[in-house]
Symmetry: C2
Subunit: 388 residues, 2 copies
């Protein structure tokens, strides 16, 4: 697949896999009136945040934020947002696509986007930038423009936390697709197939149902390997007796879903049942705590309290959940030290887990919509331990 | 899928999709003697580069470079390389995996990795960092350690350009799998299926053959949409008459493959045949130029000269190719302004293309190994325009 013409590395390189792993996108199409309105509203919110910093411009360089504020889904793009204008900078590979996807003014840069942007900053005084996302080198290039720079920190991500009705609908559709894909894939499960085979089956069912791609590398981990919270599916055969952990998500219409379910091959030993029941109880306790106005730390604490009481406190090695949307991990994080207050319209995961080396692990995860009175569990899949 | 416990955003955020899209990995396993030797050799080369800068340490923060120098495949890791030691910093989700994957000393950090690293820099004088990859904010956190900092620029990526025998074997296997997956997927092609369906079929065949994941979002673009160099597969049906562009790659054993092939539905119009033949001739001209000692710019020029002579110069909107390995886009870039001299053992793509808005586009791409006397085309798939 082609790279751009310049030798420049792009606005931000990554610790993640490279190049093409950009946001998946629906069919590029001309922005409709509703979409244009949504982008206009988002830009208005961003401008308010800029005004609070006395900034007269912002340079947005991360793909999900470029998409959120403009609709552009290409892998190389940046926005310059001023009081009166929104300009998208991209390279010649995206000339056609940019014209179709965004209502912003489009500048096709032949060299590094930073240079093209810096050249347009002469009349600006104070410009905000994405310090959490832009690479040190790209920022050095932008800094050639003699303006005051101010850090956006998590400003854009905070604006994205509460989902609009259209975004909620997109996530609902993604969640339903994800659950349907699991149901369908499980009908093709046979003892003796490998973890990789089952992951392939799951991702195929997602794709055939219209998903752009998996929201992350599907995790299928059997037996002792279920104790690795981020196990990659491997050639291990799923046979004999043991826990089977499946953590899967899809991107549909650009929006993510995320779900973890557990199955067990063969008769469930008492120790496994105890582990499962503890995690299940912890998940329900956290769900029960979710409600607009509550801090994320207290949701995490609800799950952690149950697991600690059951003797699995140290086996719960990650946070209880995270927001999701255009990215699979968004704000807010639902962890020990997170003080964000939940708001109606946030969409988060609730996914406590406990992992015992040499034995196995259990995680149970739903995607939920925060409401004024509690939450709506979007994931329809049963949480009973499935015995295969 | 779980995120780490801290609220910190990680060492480098990205313009790409988020979170879990880390490098795909083979089954984590204890590093064998051969693998350990390979990592030791890579660290030796890095130390030589540090010595040339009079640096007594390096902080490596990007996932592919962390993997290249240590074997660790988790999504959150960083290395501190000193004259006498290599230390991997990660979070508690990866305790088991880190122990299995790397021979480096492992430090499990409970907070941001930058803080854990900065705390160990007291005895250092000059430390190199990945300015092209690390985020501005993460670097600000590292800079709390009072040492001289020096930029690595593309040092690590340059070390990765020439592939070892084992790496070449891994890429060969990935390329063969990729071609086999296309052959198999095409036997399931039916006129009337959507672009998304065919992409799903392709990715399923890759996965069932053992690929960890696609190396990028598979491109299937039919008709006029083939003129978008980075088209996302969509719900458009592949039927009637027109060009069909398929750009696909797999990760196998952590290493990428990359291939583009064209098909045509129905009788091939003269204008399409002319376009195809021009791109085909350009691709052969570029391949013919590949040889150790030659500059990448001259390879690009060879393709560009043909397309310009045929009247498609302005329709060739990207570079002729790129290196690949642990990432799908690696150094060297094969573009107009790239002065890298090819060396035996580099693995690159050769993929000129021409895109005509409202008509369609053609791209033909092989993965090739640079040799002393020319190149070995690793991709076995026929380059004849397939008529479906």
């Amino acid at each position: 697949m082609p790279s751009k013409q310049t030798t420049h590395n792009g606005l931000a390189s990554t610790r993640q896999a490279p190049g093409r792993s950009g946001l998946c996108a629906p069919e590029p199409h001309p922005p409709g009136p509703a979409a244009s309105l949504a982008y206009a509203g988002r830009i208005t919110a961003l401008r308010a945040a800029l005004a609070a910093r006395e900034a007269d411009g912002a340079v947005i360089t991360s793909a999900p934020n470029v998409r959120y504020f403009s609709g552009f889904t290409g892998s190389n793009g940046a926005l310059l947002v001023s009081a009166g204008q929104v300009t998208l900078f991209t390279d010649p590979r995206y000339t056609l696509q940019a014209g179709r996807e965004t209502a912003a003014k489009v500048v096709i840069a032949k060299g590094p986007l930073e240079s093209a942007i810096a050249a347009q900053l002469a009349s600006f005084h104070k410009v905000a930038f994405e310090n959490t996302r832009i690479s040190f080198r790209s920022m050095a290039a932008l800094q050639k423009a003699r303006v005051d720079w101010c850090a956006l920190d998590d400003t854009c991500e905070a604006l994205r936390m509460v989902k609009s009705d259209a975004e909620q609908e997109a996530i609902r559709a993604s969640v339903l697709l994800n659950s349907a894909a699991l149901d369908e894939a499980l009908t093709h499960f046979r003892a003796g197939m490998t973890e990789t085979d089952l992951a392939a089956e799951i991702e195929y069912r997602m794709r055939r149902r219209g998903a752009e791609k998996p929201a992350f590398e599907t995790i299928v981990a059997f037996g002792e390997r279920s104790a690795l919270p981020h196990a990659h599916p491997g050639p291990a055969r799923i046979s004999g007796r043991g826990l089977l952990l499946i953590d899967m998500g899809a991107f549909l219409g650009g929006y993510a879903s995320d779900m973890t379910r557990m199955a067990h091959l063969g008769k469930v030993p008492t120790a496994t049942r105890q582990l499962y029941d503890a995690v299940s109880e912890a998940q329900l306790a956290a769900l029960d705590r979710v409600k607009a106005g509550v801090t994320t730390a207290s949701v995490d604490a609800a799950a952690r309290k149950v697991l600690t009481a059951r003797g699995y406190g140290k086996a719960f090695v990650h946070s209880t959940g995270h927001g999701l949307g255009l990215e699979i991990h968004e704000m807010p994080r639902i962890g020990k030290q997170d003080k964000t207050r939940l708001e109606a319209g946030m969409v988060i995961t609730i996914e406590p887990g406990a992992y015992l080396e040499g034995f196995g692990g259990v995680r149970i995860e739903d995607t939920v919509l925060v409401t004024a009175s509690g939450c709506e569990i979007l994931t329809p899949t049963s949480k009973k331990l499935l015995v295969l």
